[in-house]
Amino acid sequence: MHLLRLLSIPALTAVFVAVPVLWALPEGLTFWRTLAIVLGWGGCGLLLASLLLILRETALAHSLGGLERMYRWHHFVGVGAYLLLLAHPLALAADAWQESPHLAWQLLSPVSQGWPVWLGWISLLFLMSGLAVTFSAKVPYRTWRWLHGVLSIGVLFGMLHLVLLGISEAVIAAVLLAVLLLAWRVIRVDLGTAARPFVVQSVDRIADAVVEIALRPLSAPVASAAGQFVLVAFFDGAAFRGCREYHPFTVSSIQPDGQISIGVKSLGDCTQMIQSVEVGVAARVQGPFGVFLAERPPGPELWVAGGIGITPFIALLRESSPRWPTTLLYLYRRETDAAFLNELRTLAAAAPLLSLKAIATGGDVPDLPSMLPDSTTLAGWHCYLCGPPALITGVRQVLVERGVKTDHIHFERFDFR
């Protein structure tokens, strides 16, 4: 990944923290009070940075290294903000402790305070409960998504806490920025105004529990490339009822007229419903996102696909044959589960530089060391991995053991929780 894009999120986060902290940095106060102020404003800056990272704008995601990277950093930065904001009242209490233990408790106890401090506590409790839900693996995605939104209420209460403390009129800038970022996210993403209208053009069953859906744009098309994904919501048809939720799907083909195809595997309630989608159903598409196969340096390549993870590679092969020696290792449980398998065999037969190794693993854990090329062959190769997280972790481990540099191993995790 380009160095500027690699540094973009850390640099932005540093600016979001440095500006309020330097603005509010006091002089001549005790250590604990100074620390409390720095923690409070640092936490506020991190909260604002985490809000910026939940915007789903194609240009923003591209300059920040991809949506998946933005979401990963959103998690780091959000938890960082929570840690600083937890420590903020404790540092204030530690400062009051210098005067007397009673004063320290007076400061911490919500009972003995007014609205400015109550709002601080309410904000902290919202952040605490919102994060508890965020880290709960048992909550279904649909419920989880709504409960995760509780965190934004915590942010708004935190901003009100700042306003009622009466620190300065400049605080309004932080409040306005938080409201703007949240409104942007809700209007553009959750209400779908950033999405474009499409219609289902064709539906092909390409394997058990996998369909390939062609979508025709009704207005401007999305400018996607192989390896990218789009977020698609399906609406109602004559007999079909869409779940109307935006889910990420990798693009499997891109036509010159703007028509795109996506591979959809039944992995949950919504994707199960999509298996029976009809021609003519309205859909909305956000994107494209992702930098998985972008800026590939010239040279031999290893592609490893697990199950529906074959989709970005079929998109690439449908565009053109590889110009460098390329090995595609495609792992699936059974032949009936293997999406695009026959087409891949045809494409491989016509591509002299492509070596296809399609392997049915059954129910067993694949013996990756025997399937992957040896260290001599892999020297200087770039490796692109797409599949279930356990497969990516396993393949990555073998490749590193065989001397492949970590910056030569490319993958994206599609975990939006």
Partner: protein, 123 residues
């Protein structure tokens, strides 16, 4: 890892909050340590002579406080607080934040800076 960090930090936070309370219950002597200032009568004229950031007295609810050392700690910007140096700031103290008074925490903090009682010919 993030999950573990969240749960550990939350636990440590509540343990720390509980510790402040437990110490207070365990050592009743620590409950009230506010200094008791001598009951000196301070006239409005004398109060008015301490109207600088480097020498700031204020009268609040009939008592006079030397807030010089506290001023840097006050969360509001200087232009909110400094104009009250050398004056009776009771009204400002009672109507902070949309008409609401300062908190009991502030009352207790204030007690530490008390230096006397305001003469009766004011207000």
């Amino acid at each position: 890892m993030m999950r573990t960090l969240y749960f550990s930090a939350t636990l440590v936070f509540w343990l720390a909050v509980a510790s402040f309370r437990i110490v207070l219950i365990s050592f009743p002597g620590a409950e009230k340590t506010a200094a008791i200032a001598a009951d000196k009568i301070i006239s409005p004229a004398e109060l008015a002579r301490h109207a600088l950031p480097s020498d700031c007295w204020m009268a609040i609810r009939g008592n006079v406080y030397d807030l010089t050392s506290y001023l840097p700690n006050h969360p509001s910007p200087p232009n909110i607080v400094l104009p009250w140096c050398g004056k009776d700031a009771t009204e400002a103290y009672n109507t902070k934040t949309k008409g609401r008074p300062h908190s009991p925490y502030a009352d207790e903090l204030l007690a530490k800076y008390r230096i006397g009682t305001l003469g009766k010919n004011v207000r």
